[in-house]
Symmetry: C2
Amino acid sequence: MALRAGDHSQAAMTGVKEKVLTLDTMNSSIRRVEYAVRGPIVLRALELEQELRQGVKKPFTEVIRANIGDAQAMGQKPITFLRQVLALCAHPDLLNSPNFPEDAKRRAEHILRACGGHSLGAYSISSGIQLIREDVARYIQQRDGGISADPDNIFLSTGASNAIVTVLKLLVAGEGRTRSGVLIPIPQYPLYSAALAELNAVQVDYYLDEERVWALDVAELRRALRQAREHCRPCALCVINPGNPTGQVQTRECIEAVIRFAFEERLFLLADEVYQDNVYAEGSQFHSFKKVLTEMGSPYAEQQELASFHSVSKGYMGECGFRGGYVEVVNMDPAVQQQMRKLMSVRLCPPVPGQVLLDVVVSPPAPSDPSFAQFQAPTRPSQELGLAPDMFFCMSLLEETGICVVPGSGFGQREGTYHFRMTILPPMEKLRPLLEKLSQFHAKFTQEYS
Amino acid sequence: MALRAGDHSQAAMTGVKEKVLTLDTMNSSIRRVEYAVRGPIVLRALELEQELRQGVKKPFTEVIRANIGDAQAMGQKPITFLRQVLALCAHPDLLNSPNFPEDAKRRAEHILRACGGHSLGAYSISSGIQLIREDVARYIQQRDGGISADPDNIFLSTGASNAIVTVLKLLVAGEGRTRSGVLIPIPQYPLYSAALAELNAVQVDYYLDEERVWALDVAELRRALRQAREHCRPCALCVINPGNPTGQVQTRECIEAVIRFAFEERLFLLADEVYQDNVYAEGSQFHSFKKVLTEMGSPYAEQQELASFHSVSKGYMGECGFRGGYVEVVNMDPAVQQQMRKLMSVRLCPPVPGQVLLDVVVSPPAPSDPSFAQFQAPTRPSQELGLAPDMFFCMSLLEETGICVVPGSGFGQREGTYHFRMTILPPMEKLRPLLEKLSQFHAKFTQEYS
Ligand SMILES: Cc1ncc(COP(=O)(O)O)c(C=O)c1O
Ligand SMILES: Cc1ncc(COP(=O)(O)O)c(C=O)c1O
């Protein structure tokens, strides 16, 4: 009964109409969106899980998801204090329970007082609860050695994803050769390529240097920018630091060089810093773009425009399901900031439980608080590995072993090189056999196809 | 120090550069977005609240927000069972507490088993937790007298807002005279005009008939469509039923006529049914578009494309802050539905606590459950009123009385008529003096300016 496009006379005759909304008539920008982290490999993984549940025999008994940084799905336990505060806020009758520590109760009361109707069930103001933005500002100030942060420059969001897309949305404009270009690292986190496709902006790739452990090289930025200027209007530069999927942590010198470059070339800076609490390598240290920019002094400190993103999904808490995050904007044109406020207000507000979690994350119990001892950051690895071939490798790996990883093409890679990306969040007792299976599979695969 | 656009030589000389991102360079579609529910009146209300906190003397002691349908901000208490389940899910240690009813515990365990890592802190699959989509499907089936619903056609979302924008995003395409047009009611809920501006689609207004208590009239749809076809490509029709801001509940005959119209004119139907549990007027009854469409039989039942939206923000629960909602798509082209799945996966997943609430809302305690008696739907009014003049009236009202309402222009109104829209969610003891103040102000205002 399927009809070809345009075949309306026949449609009328048989009484069967073609769909109004088809691949041909739909928004072509959406069709161009690719999304690796949850692409065909993940869809197949879902099917395999269903088949296993239905008792279908497979060479493995469970699917292991190493495709997405989702700590709790991998068995990491949530931090008790965070969840106590949340339960108290959700069900304030518990404030009378003797089974909750005093500091959790105080915190919950403090947050509830700042909520409309003293309830999580009220919409908050669109940029997020004032009190929580103030706590975020204090957190940033401490992180950055005292450099001040203004709560009015902080917008809470539905995960960092939502904040990133909002800022990109403000930036993109133009058609043809004046279309906005946005520089993104390759390999990247695929939200960026997806959002740029959706917004019909030009994705300008700059390659991280695999030979130097995926370092960012300003000469490469310059090359990418020069080429891009021939066909679009580059207006922004995205940096992911610490890197996903590379795990690279940028040096202070590198960040300074990037800021100078952005300033000279008039690029708005987007710093994706959601992994700021996931730095493990010896000698590595996280420097925020805001701090470096401010310490560089004039003209950067007062002029370079910057948006910095953070999330409750990563770090030691790994609370992905709550979709909490924020963006701090620096040196943004006040009129544009007003537009950003308006844009966020159209979606009413970010989820309030995610705002609550963010509040506890940015102001955890102090040493004098009863929950201090219990509130530990179970440090866990989050760097990523790099290896060989691609989609076929990943699909075969999934079918034979149940291990779900992402082909490198989804993040971007230099032509002729092939990678896959896996997260290593599974607990030790799962990770060891996983790596063994993987290594066996890899040996067999390369033998078979080389 | 502000420089004019293009004044780059002077900028270079003084070392002061203009911002990269300005009103001139930013995304002009975003600039065109207007958002009434949280526009200038609400910004001023926020300032007034701040001034009151700082002890500034005003002719009122508190600001009353009748601008947005936010029941709990107005003092409505959340439903205990909902919050018990949520607290148990957030902090599963409570499953051992004797202070929670057994059915709440069973429900929480049931939901947690369906979560990654048995935790709310894991990302769910992008369309929402399978178990919850199954419960939503069962709910729809019951609501619609047994007409089946498929969990794969249900997508959970970050409030209904997010689902509405997602479906609109799929629909819009084209440039100039082939730009997509979307028919929306006037007055409308301003998310629609905002989203269409953002997506650069054409807003096609059809007017509800104030003389007939804001009824929808197919002759008016026909007029709007005919005129729109001269300058764009109308592809979709939005209906809000029960209406916001009008409170109108459509009759079954009206819905049938709308469906026939959409089918004949090849329009994708969007039915915003978030107020389906807020029907109070005697003789009024809610009919879902899905049910009417299915019962109309061939060719509508198998061919007319429809997306129906619902939310946990409205109804008797009024849990706005959690941002839970869903869309059910009917007769959508499977290839497009796949695209929709992809698009949602870019944002990872809707907030899991909102998904949990939705689950309880769609499958509340049964008569045999311990929490049944306690789980009552405190029915409350939610229709809206219609009155005279506009922005000036609303701003004066706010300044003099602290009552925050929305000018009719934000929802749309026939030229030469003026309205404002207020929600009547405040509890009785606030609502009575509010209405008295309002009526005094109105008398004074009309006397003064007529
Ligand atoms: C680099 C990077 N940015 C942003 C995000 C989005 O995180 P969320 O939207 O959950 O806050 C992720 C998630 O994996 C990420 O890896
Ligand atoms: C008609 C209508 N649709 C959709 C929404 C959005 O609701 P939410 O995004 O909170 O689910 C509202 C909120 O007031 C509304 O009135």
